[in-house]
Subunit: 168 residues, 2 copies
């Protein structure tokens, strides 16, 4: 949890997956929907809050890619970079919600245009870090991500989601 | 987020699902694994932290079952009780983790025996609330839950997980 008095800039939930599939373009009357797929790796649900700026993006990318949450065959935990594994980033503004009675309020969420900018920066920072890590790159792993602002139609298959929560 | 200075007693992540399947007994050499399945409804990942007691269980059950996170056909959001929808509870101690450098620490997690007791109490409280809600009960909805302490081998299919985070 962030220190008392420090304003939160973002929230992330990470889950481990065996495979996952995410819609990136909804179907229309004329066309089928488009999807991205990943194999074993991490699903990263990300949300930016008011006051978030580019300085938090690097920290978010570093934490999510280097924290040791991925189980190896011998029961050790290593980073998604070292696993190496696929990465699926899911924009998830709902993580910014706060319950007020039975209703959720999203007053702490960042404005959509700013959120999109930070989301794109986060993806680019992840892409950079992943591609600079030879073990990850040489293994042919992939980074996929959802379309910001869309409904995130997601299917995930896990050997234990091993969910973790991060504040920034 | 809990008020500054107040110790957290629990964390919950809620996702909406079209269907989900959870292993409740792992396979052995002699037997196949056992699974529970739910149809459209809510997946509730729950974690108890040190200092949690029975008083927080009722609040957790009330919040998760009455908060309006389930989308109706006309785009309104209602509770899982009123949807009405299935409920799958997944014990998820990893939500109590805190990153220290690249390692996760779980120092805030409640002791396993106490956690099991509160987990069982939460399930019972949910069962009570759900069964007392005639709309839910008459619709033939179901409450399923994972085995505390096991690996939560989970598959989830969503029309948007619409993930929400709650602190208690």
């Amino acid at each position: 949890m962030a220190d008392a008095g420090v304003t939160l800039k973002g929230r992330i939930v990470m889950q481990q997956c065996l495979s996952a599939r995410l819609q990136v373009k909804p179907p229309t009357d004329e066309e089928e929907g488009e999807y991205v797929e990943v194999n074993r790796g991490a699903v990263i649900y990300i949300c930016f809050l008011k006051g978030a700026d580019i300085s938090v993006v690097e920290k978010m990318a570093k934490t999510t890619l280097t924290v040791r949450l991925s189980e190896t065959g011998n029961g050790k935990f290593i980073s998604i970079l070292d696993l190496p594994g696929d990465v699926l980033v899911v924009p998830q503004a709902t993580l910014g919600g706060k319950a007020k009675g039975k209703m959720m309020q999203y007053h702490s969420n960042i404005a959509k245009d700013e959120g999109l900018e930070l989301y794109n920066a986060y993806i680019e920072q992840c892409r950079k870090m992943l591609n600079e890590h030879s073990k990850w790159k040489e293994a042919g792993c992939t980074l996929k991500h959802g379309t910001y602002g869309n409904r995130q139609v997601l299917r995930i298959d896990t050997n234990g989601p091993f969910s973790h929560y991060f504040e920034f």
